[in-house]
Symmetry: C2
Subunit: 346 residues, 2 copies
């Protein structure tokens, strides 16, 4: 062995966690962006590394939506913060009757985050976007000190092409409209709860997190008259129904027996005193369909693979009220949840 | 005094801070959105309270950009996180040659945040957007636990209408291009530093934070041939010049004596051993202008009220290198900053 070998500098181990320097705008940040984001996201617009992306002109109206994701834990059964950040905003665009086309992503990273976790989340985003044909075209990265964030927060904003002639809006809901629900409710909230609390069921609870555009497109192309669409996120079915009832000035009546809930979700809710109708979904929506079109709409949703059901209808009054006919045949008011049963569910 | 009076419930004091319930998707969140965001942001698209906003069709190409803002402190001399969140993304659109039209905003609030501070920031956003004619059309609110955020983080994404025929991109920069700088550098970084460190100067250091669209429009309408625009944010002038040099495969040569820096900024930098050329600005940009057009471009910028200057030019080689001719007449390489001199500057 020679002195030369001994005096050779030991090569620095590659950095394995996010540091404040990764948010500096300098060389470290550039390395992070290239090694993780540009490696995961192939879009040429992003690879221009300019301040924004150029979108082709579009003859149609566009929809524009945004969502931030602060879910804990960042990986969960059925998804992760990356796929959720794509699905969430893509679904908001779908609820406007728009095909999701372009996505921006803004990362707020906590100092000390494992770079492998970031890479895994970024790859999951890329896969989710690719499945929908959504282009991740522009982004931003910030780093905050340890204890001023929680691993990863992601904001996405999306631009989509509206494919409907008539606007899809809460204010278009009319008495007589049928209320369709695209599947069973509460699985996302219950899955997150089960991970946080370490619950075990005979079958694992898996989040319903999914992108809804194929289902929504099938519905819109069925030539049913669709007045409003709303995905069930925070506050679940109860919050969504109440928002639409209030904004439309109508009443909504739904039947508990027509609303599918998995037994594991019921079980988790009973254990924690939660209402499955107020539990978040991340892959379910409701549609308000003009009277006479509900069967056609239902068939379209079923054709797209949804376990959809007609769960109720819109009434003239009392304005803003949601009524639930329970399993026992009793009618009660279904209130919007007030506070926070499960924080940071998305 | 009667028993009745004593038994009257004391009216609950109105909530003055953000709670986890404000992020629930329920009634508390709705109240927060209406009392603060809808009260500050007048746009009808936002008041539809739908999952996204509908934008009118546009014959031109669109630009799409995003930025997250994690600045500390959230109020500083010359701006605040609200105005910064509008200017930052509007400026990114301007750098694409696009008139800023629509903005989304995603708030990540820390439990315990003073609602008055949130309201002040939201109003500042609204004012900043109004000044540019930018519509805040869609948004999202999340709440994280105390110690998992830092008061307010804001993401904005923006959509703008491209008014240039030719793309404005780093890859279009050519040897012979003149490098124009729109004003003095480093005031934003120095102002944040002075607040954090409690520095006092004879005149107060004020951030240069501003929207750049009127200046960029004047430049684009001057019929100068503009190859690239870049605003100076994190990493300052040094980072921006290095990025463009690298992406274009050219060299850039600039002269220190042509780069304006306020004496207070120089002073703060000397005290802390910082380089003003690597200090963030939030209201300055550089323009790469084809040879022969630089005087016309300079006149346009001056006409728009900028203390602009031609600070250098693009050379064929060495590819990716930025050279600075110092006050002493010596040439040296101006590197991009590597790590983080001032974290959370925007």
């Amino acid at each position: 062995m020679t002195d030369f070998k001994l005096s050779c500098p030991v090569p620095a181990a590659p950095q394995k966690t996010v540091t404040l320097g990764h948010g500096s705008g300098g060389l470290l940040m550039k390395k992070l962006i290239r090694d993780i984001f540009l490696a995961a996201f192939p879009d040429p617009a992003l690879h221009d590394e300019h301040d924004g992306a150029i979108l082709e002109p579009c003859q149609d109206k566009l929809a524009f939506a945004t969502d931030s994701f602060v879910i804990r834990p960042i990986f969960f059964p059925g998804g992760d913060i990356g796929s959720l950040a794509v699905h969430g905003t893509a679904n908001d665009l779908a609820m406007c009757g728009a095909q999701p086309l372009y996505l921006s992503c803004g990362f707020i990273l906590e100092e000390g985050l494992d770079l492998e976790e970031l890479e895994k989340a970024a790859r999951s985003m890329a896969r989710a976007a690719d499945e929908i044909g959504l282009r991740i075209v522009t982004g931003d990265t910030k780093v905050v000190e340890r204890g001023k964030g929680d691993k990863i927060y992601i904001n996405t904003a999306g631009v989509g092409r509206v494919i409907t002639e008539n606007p899809i809006l809460p204010s278009r809901v009319r008495p007589g409209d049928a209320v369709l629900l695209s599947g069973d409710v509460g699985a996302h909230g219950a899955a997150i709860l089960s991970v946080r609390e370490g619950l075990r069921f005979e079958t694992q609870l898996v989040s319903d997190a999914a992108h809804l555009w194929p289902q929504v497109r099938a519905l819109l192309e069925s030539e049913s008259e669709i007045h409003c669409l709303r995905d069930l996120t925070r506050g679940g079915l109860a919050a969504a129904l109440n928002e639409i009832a209030e904004k439309s000035g109508c009443a909504v009546a739904v039947e508990e027996e027509l609303i599918a809930i998995m037994p594991e979700v019921e079980g988790a809710c009973e254990m924690f005193g939660l209402d499955p109708l107020s539990l978040a979904c991340e892959g379910r929506f409701i549609a308000f369909v003009a009277n006479g079109y509900q069967e056609k709409a239902l068939a379209a949703l079923k054709g797209a693979g949804c376990a959809a059901a007609i769960i109720g209808k819109v009434l003239e009054s009392p304005a803003g009220e949601v009524r639930l006919k329970t399993h026992l045949g009793v009618e009660r008011i279904l209130d919007a949840p007030s506070g926070e049963a499960l924080p940071r569910i998305c």
